[in-house]
């Protein structure tokens, strides 16, 4: 059945460059919580042991026949979840063994901290202060940071042995998202409405740091794509004037700075962006990949952005957890027929592979993505 004429990297780049690949590139966002379910591990094992988290991802990849891109190559575990800037509850510690890790919505950054961020920068504030506010009493921070370096090296070596394209070794959260997570959503929204000047000053400073950090990391790792994340800025949450002034303006700065260095930015965009999709048309053609989570209407986004930007997604976590394999198969076919018919789509899960995924549904996603076009 296979009529593949491109290698994994060529296939992914064809989609990014808005050309028609030999077939749709497949890239489920398989983080440890989903990989645990797919490989029979507990959530506790993958959340507390970075090596086991990576092993779960590698095993899931091998077990389901592999796929074209593994864009988040370093597993998200007890270590790097700290970099969300929030307190984390872990399975086997505060949660039951088979419950996935979860973050706590709490005001860990106080109003008075804005001045420290504006004066000293986010990175300085985070490493020397915030990290110690959110860490669990059992966390040894220097040890955890060393462990991250080890696991990055191991992930680099292990993925290089497999036939998959692993482009993202650099990434960051949008500064707006960092403030929303760490101030807590309601407090940050109060800041935006009642004391916007200080937010703007902080974002001005933070966005320059994000640009520098990401470009430096990309240069150091030889990446071509940088991962960026935002889950709280779209039209689901904020009116367009707020979005324009405190998110879009900074996003354009980030995208332009990366694009001028030849770097594509892959935006992980959770929640509905239906009201904002048209803004992305203003970005340079082919400069970003937009990863939607199944709540943004990807079919409408295709009409708006088709031929201009590559889309990614968007099999909904509920469908993957509760649906039947034929439901998943039908949805993937619809994505191929209506979004990928002329290229410009990377097939993925909406957000990450969910912790309650049915293995047969995962198989249906990967297999339909790889075979449907050749079966027609």
């Amino acid at each position: 059945m296979s009529r593949e004429t491109m290698n994994v990297e060529e296939r992914v780049w064809a989609a990014i460059n808005l050309e028609k690949p030999d077939r749709l590139p497949v890239a489920p966002d398989c983080q440890p919580a989903g990989a645990a379910k797919l490989t029979g591990r507990t959530q506790s094992v993958v959340a507390n042991d970075p090596e086991e988290a990576l092993n779960a991802e590698l095993e899931a990849f091998d077990k389901y026949g592999g796929w074209d891109m593994y864009h988040m190559a370093v597993p998200s575990t007890n270590i790097n979840t700290l970099f969300l800037g929030m307190k984390v509850k872990l399975p086997g510690r505060e949660l039951l063994d088979n419950e996935p890790y979860q973050v706590v919505e709490e005001e860990v950054v106080k109003l008075e901290d804005y001045n420290n961020i504006i004066e000293g920068g986010w990175q300085n504030f985070f490493m020397n202060d915030l990290l110690y506010r959110i860490a669990h009493e059992s966390d040894n921070i220097p040890e955890l940071i060393n462990k991250i370096q080890e696991i990055v090296q191991k992930a680099f070596q292990e993925w290089a042995k497999r036939d998959t394209y692993v482009p993202c070794w650099a990434g960051d959260l949008h500064p707006f998202f960092k403030l929303s997570l760490t101030r807590s959503m309601i407090k940050f929204t109060e800041d935006l409405y009642y004391r916007p000047e200080i937010v703007e000053k902080a974002l001005d400073r933070m966005v320059q740091e994000t640009i520098k950090t990401v470009i430096d990391k990309v240069r150091a790792t030889g990446s071509k794509i940088a991962w960026l994340c935002e889950e709280r800025a779209g039209g689901f949450f904020y009116p367009l004037p707020i979005f324009e002034k405190y998110w879009w303006k900074y996003t354009v700065q980030i995208v332009d700075a990366l694009w001028s260095e030849g770097i594509i930015s892959l935006w992980h965009l959770d929640t509905s962006w239906d009201k904002n999709v048209h803004y992305f048309k203003k970005l340079p053609k082919g400069s970003v990949i937009l990863h939607f989570d199944g709540t943004t209407d990807i079919f409408a986004a295709k009409k708006e952005l088709g031929g201009h930007l590559c889309l990614m997604g968007d099999v909904h976590p509920s469908l993957l957890s509760l649906g039947k394999p034929e439901d998943v198969e039908n949805y993937v076919k619809r994505l191929i027929d209506e979004v990928s018919y002329d290229g410009g789509l990377i097939l993925s899960t909406g957000c990450n592979v969910p912790a309650a995924i049915k293995p047969d549904n995962f198989k249906a996603l990967v297999d339909t993505g790889k075979n449907y076009e050749f079966s027609k």
Binding site: P100, Y238, P317, S318, P354, A356
Partner: protein
């Protein structure tokens, strides 16, 4: 004066709103003042429906309403019991500790005159069943942000069915991890990711619009 308090809430003039509210609470009928705040929340809801307001304004007005309710509470207690439009039991089930969406919904529901029994997060199915038995709500609402709480929601629903309580209430489910598949799986009456849409559904339930 009444219109002013309502408008201050709608326009999110937080400082003026709270200052006027505190001043009036000592002198006027607290039920009347609370009604003015509820009217403000209704207007916010109407603007949300028209697409003029967003979740941000729902959250901020909800916060103001919450503060107003806390200020008025001692005066309301003195003046006697409030009347409710209906009763809602709300929970985020076992395994899920996210409370943001649930809390927003609870505040909006209270602002729309519902008695809300918010059971919190990480709630065992048995606690939901016990509370439903106790208060016999018009609406049972599940909030859900992660897929691993699908099974505890299913367990609670099946127990409610076995107890013969399901026919007496409407079951709603909301949150980022939910969609039509979740609704079908739980045999729920309604699903949404939009808190204001959820409130409208609850208003229809108690308004008798869904009694077919």
């Amino acid at each position: 004066m009444a219109e002013q308090l309502t408008n201050l809430l709608v326009d999110l003039k937080n400082e003026k709103f709270l200052s006027q509210l505190k001043d009036r609470a000592t002198k006027e009928d607290p039920v009347k003042i609370l009604d003015e705040c509820k009217r403000g929340m209704e207007i916010v809801g109407e603007r949300f429906e028209k697409g003029e307001y967003f979740l941000a304004e729902l959250m901020l007005s909800g916060q103001l309403f919450k503060e107003a309710s806390a200020i008025l509470e001692p005066y309301l207690l003195e003046s006697g019991a409030q009347e409710y439009r209906g009763t809602i039991v709300l929970a985020t089930l076992k395994g899920d500790i996210h409370d943001l969406g649930k809390d927003i919904f609870a505040t909006l529901a209270r602002a729309h005159g519902f008695e809300v029994h918010d059971l919190g997060v990480d709630v065992p199915a048995s606690t939901v069943v016990d509370k439903v038995k106790e208060v016999q709500p018009n609406i049972l609402g599940y909030s859900c942000l992660i897929t691993t709480s699908f099974e505890p929601m299913k367990e609670a629903t099946e127990e409610i069915e076995r107890e013969g309580l399901r026919e007496k209430l409407k079951l709603t489910v909301g949150g980022g991890a939910t969609d039509e598949f979740t609704k079908k799986y739980l045999n729920a009456d309604f699903q949404t990711t939009d808190a204001a849409e959820g409130i409208n559904y609850c208003l229809k339930v108690v308004g008798g619009e869904l009694n077919e």
